[in-house]
Amino acid sequence: MSNIREIKRRIRAISNIQHVTGAMKMVAASRLRRAQSRVWAARPYAQKTAEVAGRLALSPNAQTLPLVASREVKKTAYVLIVGDKGLAGAYNANLIHLTEDRLVKEGQPAGLVVVGRKGLQYFRRRSVEILKYYVDIGDEPDLSLARELARQLMDIFLSGQVDEVNLIYARFISALRNIPQVERLLPIETPSVEGTETIDYIYEPEPVGVLEAILPRYCEVKVYQALLEAKASELSARMVAMESATKNSAEMIEQLTLSFNKARQAAITTELLEVATGAEALKAQG
């Protein structure tokens, strides 16, 4: 009997869990929709800025600008962008491992800038130099945060504290797919578009002046884009994780219901048997 009650309790518990994961999935899905549209909305600006910056960087004196000029790399900074919360499948773990791999592989001094509580929780306990951290970004990484972060990164790069800055985040491909990746932020890589049409532009003010104005913006928008993509990836990972959790609990409920029925049937059979034997015994006596 206790077995039956036990199974019944478990079914109820799992069905409660299923409700919760189902609700979390719906929440993640609706937030994902918004995050996704923000990613799309931000892309034209990022593209255009990259286009203009790329074209300008080809001009001869661009290579000497401090944000572009590459130097011998003695120390690298990695910017890890992860979530503040868990329950998103392997999303956070994948990015953290990628970062750790990078830190170990390089074997040279490196600093870490962490965005997202999960990353901070992990790396705070390790012997990694954390240059800066940001937590509680919320659902809408706003532009002013991206600007501040970009400015900090440019500062530590320009002051010579580090010689390279890389972003580590999950690129958002679709609701079912994101790719954790390492992307160079500084020094700014100039696309090698040799041979493409070099239009003779009129610059106002002179090219280097324009370039000096556009490069920081380019950095900002790249950071902004990374934050948006990371957020969309996180939400999509959470949605997928919660969906499979919901499915798994449905499966478990099915199995438990089956064993519940079996146990109930067995109990009834035993009872019947008892009644029958009892009756038989009485008849024999009489």
């Binding site: 909305a41 034209p44 600006y45 610059y203 002046g209 324009v210």
Partner: protein, 134 residues
């Protein structure tokens, strides 16, 4: 009359994409007008009002708080830090921002970031002007 494709994008979204007959924008070295078949040009924008004449002759305007303008023979692209079409502007908010900036510049307390206050003043003036011009 030929037209240009006029696009305004900010980091958050695309504000506008339309065929226009002319664009007037606050360039680094003063306001400049761009007509179709303009020579390739790239300029920094200051905070100010951008006027554009749509096909058919209706002129509209928007406030930008700085950015870049790229002009080509058949297109004009503005990469704005922020941009608001004249009818989207919150006039009350812009007026408050203007008063705040003016007050700061008048009082000049120690530690005031003058450049920033001036920039804020220019931005709010651009907004008010654009809102009026509609």
């Amino acid at each position: 009359m030929s037209t240009s494709r006029f696009e305004v994008v900010t980091p958050q979204r695309r504000i506008l994409a339309e065929e226009v007959e002319s664009v007037i924008a606050p360039g680094a070295e003063g306001y400049l007008g761009v007509l179709p078949r303009h020579a390739p040009l790239l300029t920094i924008l200051k905070p100010g009002v951008v006027f554009f004449r749509k096909v058919g002759g209706k002129t509209e305007c928007m406030a930008v708080s700085g950015g870049l303008l790229e002009a080509g023979p058949d297109k004009v692209i503005i990469l704005a830090d922020t941009a608001e079409l004249s009818w989207e502007i919150d006039v009350e908010r812009a007026r408050r921002a203007k008063e705040r900036a003016e007050k700061r510049l008048r009082e000049r307390y120690a530690g005031l970031d003058v450049a920033r206050a001036e920039f804020a003043l220019q931005r709010s003036l651009a907004r008010l002007k654009a809102a009026e011009g509609s």
